[in-house]
């Protein structure tokens, strides 16, 4: 087991190319997921059991099955049906890139919806009552009171979701995409040096995690700056 630094350095450009695709997949699916999860979380907190039930089925499926299964079901599974292949969606569904993006988005939306639901339910009753007592409409109250407070409550849990999505994106390599892991596996297919290349890929993932966490911390501090002003101990917000 001699360690080969040279192969690491010579594959770095390719690995960085894969890193870009990884970032693209993660960032887009997280952003779309963050938007989609708002109405779904609202439905989940509805008083009507029917409205509550529909997104539950969806979040239950996506949180209860492995991402790999979801990806294969969507990519290889759907293509089993002629109807899918003749539909107007096929130009997108035939691309591994879109399949990965759609599945990642559906997956992260499911998790984010549940995080947000928990946060909305955790908004103190007093705040809601106060808003009602000054005659806010439901929509206004949701926009001005419930949602901003829920976001603050959800922030720490959401940072975990970001990291999980980053790590989950490695599965894109199983449906022909050349993301960071896919690129690493393709390089290994030529060099037969799995440990060195996986080590290099692992370092890049760690670096990405680190950058995500730092950026998120800045963002969190900004969102929670009203609290930071009150407590002298900044770490209380993290």
């Amino acid at each position: 087991m001699s360690w080969n630094w040279e192969v690491i350095f010579s594959s770095l450009p390719k690995l960085l190319e894969g890193t870009l695709l990884t970032l693209e997949l993660v960032v887009i699916s997280l952003l779309v997921g963050a938007v989609l999860s708002i109405p779904l979380a609202l439905m989940r907190t509805s008083a009507n059991p029917l409205i509550r039930g529909i997104p539950l089925g969806y979040t239950f499926f996506f949180r209860g099955t492995p991402l790999l299964v979801q990806l294969f079901l969507f990519y290889y599974g759907l293509a089993q049906f002629d109807a899918v292949r003749e539909s107007i969606f096929w130009p997108y569904l035939r691309e591994a890139y879109w399949c990965a993006l759609i599945v990642f988005t559906l997956n992260t939306t499911a998790y984010t919806t549940e995080i947000l639901r928990g946060a909305i339910q955790a908004v103190p009753n007093g705040e809601i009552e106060a808003a009602q007592s000054i005659g806010m409409s439901r929509a206004l109250m949701f926009r001005r009171i419930t949602l901003p407070l829920a976001y603050r409550i959800a922030l720490p849990a959401y940072s975990n979701e970001i990291i999980l999505m980053l790590k989950g994106s490695a599965l894109a390599s199983t449906i022909t995409l050349l993301d960071l892991t896919g690129m690493a596996r393709t390089i290994i297919a030529r060099t037969y040096m799995p440990i060195e290349i996986f080590f290099a890929a692992g370092c890049i993932y760690l670096l990405l995690t680190f950058i995500f966490v730092q950026l998120y911390r800045l963002f969190e501090r900004r969102m929670l700056r009203h609290q930071a002003a009150r407590t002298s101990d900044a770490s209380a917000t993290s």
Binding site: A79, R94, T174, T176, R185, T186, A189, R190, P194
Partner: protein, 243 residues
């Protein structure tokens, strides 16, 4: 306590020495008709039959280890098994990492497309061309000018995407392609263009320096060809000689 620990460790680890005269054969199990896994969960196919015949000639027990394709050489180097019998082409690139026996069959590459599509194999610009990752077919697909190579973990997944129309052209080893075209799924597909004869010989890979095993395997290959065992296995899968 200590002896229990040692015992436990020994139970968990499979030691190469403990199995001195048992040869572990690495194969993929997703490459019909050469190696695949059936309903009983056991590997079968041309490669497997050949390996069994070789082991019988060498008078040793053989155990099969299945391994995904792009990890198959690293697995050999790491000592997970002693020889790869998995339709592996003898290439210079691979010979830097492993040693090969003499060939046990020959291979060439072909293009497969859907019947009725008008595709010129001389000009595949803008087409998506599929192949299995870490194969010579993949090398060929990647080398086609202007085409978009899509590489799959298994040949099976490449077939699935050819059927679904995600790829326009599949570059494949000729013999498994021949087998697939005969199957129900392959009915609407055909070979096109000329055979890409790349003088491809299929051999058994062993670790570098494992010359003793290589010599034994070579001797056994010669023997099964001589006594007709090879021809029997050959005719089970193909109506023509693949040697």
């Amino acid at each position: 306590m200590k002896s229990i620990l040692v015992g436990l460790l020994a139970m968990m680890l499979v030691s190469g020495n403990a199995l001195a005269d048992k040869i572990r054969i690495g194969t993929e199990g997703a490459y019909p008709p050469f190696n695949m896994i059936g309903k009983d969960g056991k590997p079968a196919g041309f490669d497997v039959d050949i390996a069994k015949a070789l082991c019988e000639k060498m008078g040793t027990d053989c155990a099969f280890v299945t391994q995904d394709w792009d990890g198959i050489i690293p697995g050999l180097l790491a000592g997970k098994y002693d020889a790869i019998v998995a339709s592996m082409s003898i290439t210079e690139e691979r010979m830097r990492a492993v040693d090969f026996t003499n060939k046990y069959y020959s291979n060439s590459l072909r293009f497969i497309v859907k019947k009725g599509t008008d595709i010129d194999t001389g000009n595949l610009k803008g087409m998506s061309v599929g192949a299995q990752r870490a194969t010579i077919a993949a090398n060929h697909a990647e080398s086609i000018e202007g085409a978009k190579a899509k590489l799959y973990d298994t040949q099976e997944n490449a077939y699935l995407d050819l059927s679904s129309g995600r790829i326009d052209v599949l570059v494949t080893d000729m013999l498994p392609g021949y087998d697939w075209l005969k199957s129900e799924q392959g009915q609407d597909y055909q070979f096109i263009g000329k055979t890409i004869d790349i003088d491809d010989k299929i051999g058994i890979a062993v670790r570098k320096g494992d010359g003793k095993l290589r010599d034994r395997l070579n001797k056994a290959i010669t023997e099964i060809i001589k006594d007709g065992t090879y021809a029997t296995i050959n005719s089970k899968y193909f109506p023509f000689s693949v040697y």
